[in-house]
């Protein structure tokens, strides 16, 4: 018995083609259904007026049992004489594609099940296509319900031919094709007499012979930074080796910051090793201090990932909401999160005939090819080169809307573009660097941008937080919209163009302060989303948007400066909230609801947020 391997096996296919029944039957034949469980399932089946139903072993939910379908993915453990397995059951109903993906994404081996009487159906093809995106190069096909076609080789061959031709177009290899009956147990744990024309092995034989050895990436190290801990007086960068290996005398390149640094130590608890392989978690300390952020990727300098701001991806779309061009989505890739937008829909694939659909609306459960853009540079790999750093998921607000695999062939690697364009600019090297300042100040620089209506409490909170941070010996400074308009911005009016310029200047000043090591608290109505985005883009890694939330009604009731009264009487024109729009932030880093909380609570919350985000560890 080989205990060092526990392959994960998923069964996918069209609804009602017998995925759950097959796994239940397999478990039973291997003698791994306990007496207790067997009795329980018997009672459950009888209660519903059914014959003994193996699927109930996996379909544990009441709704699943009552409706006779699998709703959510499940996992079950069993062993053969050769090794242990984890079996993953995935629902076949098209409503539950997200659950199918949840189940199948972690599997090493895939069974594609087809009801041989019914033949290849819509979800058989869709699941096959999804297996391809999920990285399966080979599948085992099970032709179930062979008892229903009276064990006819002719009918088996017909369905088999159709499916093999489809899979070959997807470039998925068929490892084996097995005629089975989950109900009667044909060819599950032993060869059936009734299919004497079938020359291959039983399911168990074939499963035990399936090798799951993965591609060896050798020197293509990928170490995405998961977090940074302070352990004693050490600053430990933690993460997991996604590919390749890491040894204690390595030199690492960090992207996107493009810094090369030697490893000092490798750390784990209670004892450390000198080498860590793919899949292992560890901590690293570095020979010199550099800025490292969550989501940065370390590699060997000679084999780095690509650095992209435009790229293509093959996507499965999971949300009810349609794809919207040029809207901001959050892309999560490894440990990093970035704002991206979709610029182009290249193709929407009809999985029935593999042609491109005429209609370019991407809706729930569609598979498509999209072009993405990001204002930040993102380290990533081609999916065909390194799987784990070549795939990502997409979020919209609080929903995972899609998953995708990367195709980086059609756009330039920005690493090369950057190094070319820099050739003509010789940077001035100063003796005091930003990191030196941070080490001395014990905090990182930051731009804390408070947006909200006039009277929503921006300046009040800014004043309170500035005071608290100052008494902690932080280098902190407040930039206030009203104050700036008395000096630097006194030539600007409240027209949309001048508001934009007002924000641009303020953001540039904030940037200079941040370069001097300061925590800058900016209080500015900044009513337009597009302008706030530009402000963020100046230094996205240290920019945090804080929304001080209070309705126009509440702010005009407060009316501390008497401005709302003047705006309502028409004395002041273009007043935000009254005669000029305020666009609420879609994704602020922190919301402070000043209508609901006390001033001291708001100050405390923002103070804690800043401490957490910018303390230097």
């Amino acid at each position: 018995m080989d205990e060092s391997q526990t392959p994960r096996v998923v069964t996918v296919g069209h609804v009602d083609h017998g995925k759950s029944s097959f796994i239940g039957r397999l478990m039973y034949e291997l003698g791994q259904v306990t007496e207790e469980k067997f009795q329980e399932l018997k009672n459950i089946s009888t209660k519903r007026g059914m014959e003994f139903e193996f699927a109930f072993l996996l379909d544990a939910l009441q709704d699943e049992r009552n409706q006779g379908i699998t709703i959510d993915t499940t996992q079950i453990f069993f062993k053969t004489e050769k090794r242990n397995y984890i079996f993953i059951d995935a629902p076949g109903h098209k409503e539950f594609i997200k659950n199918m993906i949840t189940g199948a994404s972690s599997a090493d081996i895939a069974f594609l099940i087809v009801d041989v009487e019914e033949g290849v159906k819509e979800q058989t093809k869709k699941h096959a296509y999804l297996l391809k995106i999920l990285g399966f190069e080979r599948v085992i096909v099970l032709y179930n319900k062979v008892d229903k076609i009276k064990y006819s080789q002719e009918k088996f061959d017909r369905v088999n031919k159709e499916l093999e031709s489809y899979l070959s177009k997807l470039e998925i290899k068929v490892h084996s094709s097995i005629p089975i009956s989950a109900k009667n147990g044909d060819n599950i744990s032993k060869k059936s007499q009734k299919t004497d024309w079938y020359l291959g092995g039983s399911v168990i034989d074939i499963l035990d012979g399936f090798s799951i050895d993965k591609k060896d990436y050798k020197d293509e190290l990928r170490f995405p930074v998961q977090d940074i801990y302070k352990v004693g007086d050490k600053r430990v960068i933690v993460g997991r080796v996604e590919s390749g290996k890491i040894t204690n005398d390595d030199t690492l390149l960090f992207l996107p910051t493009n810094q090369i640094v030697k490893i000092k130590t490798l750390e784990s608890w209670p004892s450390s090793k000198t080498e860590y392989n793919q899949g292992e978690c560890l901590g690293i300390t570095l020979d010199e201090q550099i800025f490292v952020d969550v989501g940065n990727v370390a590699s060997r300098p000679e084999k780095p990932p690509k650095l992209m701001n435009r790229f293509e991806a093959n996507i499965f779309w999971l949300s009810q909401k349609k794809v919207k061009l040029n809207k901001k989505y959050d892309m999560k890739i490894n440990t990093g999160q970035y704002q991206v937008s979709i610029n182009e829909i290249k193709k929407v694939i009809d999985t029935n005939d593999l042609q491109s659909k005429k209609n370019y609306d991407v809706t729930k459960n569609d598979i498509c090819e999209l072009v993405f853009h990001s204002s930040q540079l993102i380290p990533m790999d081609n999916y065909s080169d390194i799987k784990s750093t070549g795939r990502f998921c997409l979020l919209d607000e609080n929903e995972i809307v899609a998953g995708g695999i990367l195709n980086l062939k059609n756009f330039p690697d920005q690493k090369e573009v950057l190094s070319k364009s820099k050739k003509n600019i010789i940077p001035e090297e100063f003796y005091v660097s930003e990191i030196d300042r941070s080490v001395m100040l014990k905090h990182r620089p930051g731009i804390i941008w408070l947006t909200g209506l006039s009277g929503s409490g921006k300046s009040t909170i800014a004043k309170g937080v500035e005071k608290k941070l100052f008494s902690d010996n932080c280098n902190v400074f407040s930039l206030d919209g009203d104050n700036l308009r008395l000096g630097l911005n006194k030539d600007l009016s409240f027209s949309p163009e001048d508001r934009t310029e007002n924000i641009r200047r303020t953001a540039e000043v904030a940037k200079l302060f941040s370069q001097a090591g300061f925590l800058v608290i900016v209080s500015l109505i900044s009513p337009y989303r597009s302008e706030r985005r530009k402000a963020r883009d100046i230094r996205p890694e240290i920019f945090r948007l804080i929304y001080t939330k209070a309705s126009v009604d509440i702010c005009s009731k407060r009316d501390v400066k008497g401005l709302y009264a003047k705006a309502k009487s028409g004395e002041i024109k273009s007043f935000t909230g009254i005669s000029s729009p305020y666009e609420e932030p879609q994704k602020p880093d922190l919301v402070i609801n000043t209508a609901k909380e006390q001033v001291h609570e708001s100050i405390e919350r923002l103070y804690n947020f800043i401490k957490k985000e910018f303390s230097f560890s």
Binding site: E3, E40, K47, K98, V294, R391, N398, I400, G403
Partner: protein
């Protein structure tokens, strides 16, 4: 340690670190059982020997005395920030539930009290898929609404180690770092890492506990396994399920799902 245990260990460490990074204000449940102690050990590995969050024992006041002794020793030895939470009286619990399930539901109510008091946004719990059918359906990061309810028919997708952490403020997330472990993995890991456990798991007079809960609704099973090696051997051939000694599981077909959708671990 073999590759399978190394893989499981690293998957759990990754989950711990992801939770701490992505969810504000988290805590870990410590039921004092074998799984709980393995979970504690993995958390030490994730955070280099010192937990950066509190540990919660939801105390029904009906645990075995050996468990309380264990708690008192290891609270100090492991330097834990331990929150001891009480459970309401049985009279306050839904009387329509069968007796053992009603008793178990006290724990859900006790947990809810702690969540309300400390406003935890993430709770780490040591459940495993192989224990029970509805637990097999769980996500690693499972969102619960303000009443603690589990929306079992509409779970978020979870793939490639990516999960959603963006939820409304009223939602808390149950975090399950041991979901992929089996009972036998737990014992093999306890052996490999020499993790301390309560000795009620070892056979005395032909009986031992396979799973520890409240003493009035948990019963020992027949077994002669009196050390870890014997337990591992026993588990390789047994046909008795792990939770067979838990009275609540046998009262009604839907009882575990019923308890769990309402917030039971």
């Amino acid at each position: 340690m073999d590759n399978h245990l190394i893989k499981l260990e690293n998957e759990s460490i990754y989950i711990f670190r992801q939770s701490y990074r992505s969810i504000k204000n988290i805590a870990m449940l410590w039921s004092l059982g074998k799984d709980s102690n393995v979970m504690m050990w993995l958390a030490f590995k994730a955070f280099f020997g010192k937990l950066p969050f509190p540990v919660v024992h939801v105390d029904t006041k009906k645990k075995f005395k050996e468990m309380y002794e264990f708690r008192n020793i290891y609270e100090k030895k492991w330097n834990l920030n331990l929150i001891k939470g009480n459970c309401p009286d049985i009279k306050e619990i839904d009387p329509s539930l069968p007796p053992a399930a009603r008793s178990a539901a006290r724990k859900t109510a006790g947990l809810k009290k702690i969540l309300d008091k400390y406003k935890f946004k993430g709770v780490i719990a040591g459940i495993r898929r192989d224990e029970q059918g509805t637990r097999a359906k769980e996500r690693i990061f499972s969102p619960r609404d303000e009443s603690g309810k589990w929306d079992i028919k509409n779970q978020p997708p979870e793939f490639w180690d990516q999960s959603n952490f963006n939820y409304p403020d009223s939602v808390h997330i149950r975090i399950h770092p041991l979901l992929g472990w089996t009972e036998i993995d737990i014992w093999r890991y306890i052996k490999a890492q020499k993790i301390p456990i309560v000795d009620l798991y070892f056979s005395k007079n032909g009986k031992r506990y396979r799973s520890l809960g409240d003493k009035d609704i948990t019963f020992p099973v027949k077994s002669n396994a009196s050390n870890i090696d014997e337990i591992i051997e026993e588990l390789k051939i047994t046909k008795v399920s792990e939770r067979s000694g838990r009275a609540m599981d046998h009262e009604r077909e839907d009882i575990f799902e019923n308890l769990r959708t309402k917030g039971y671990m």
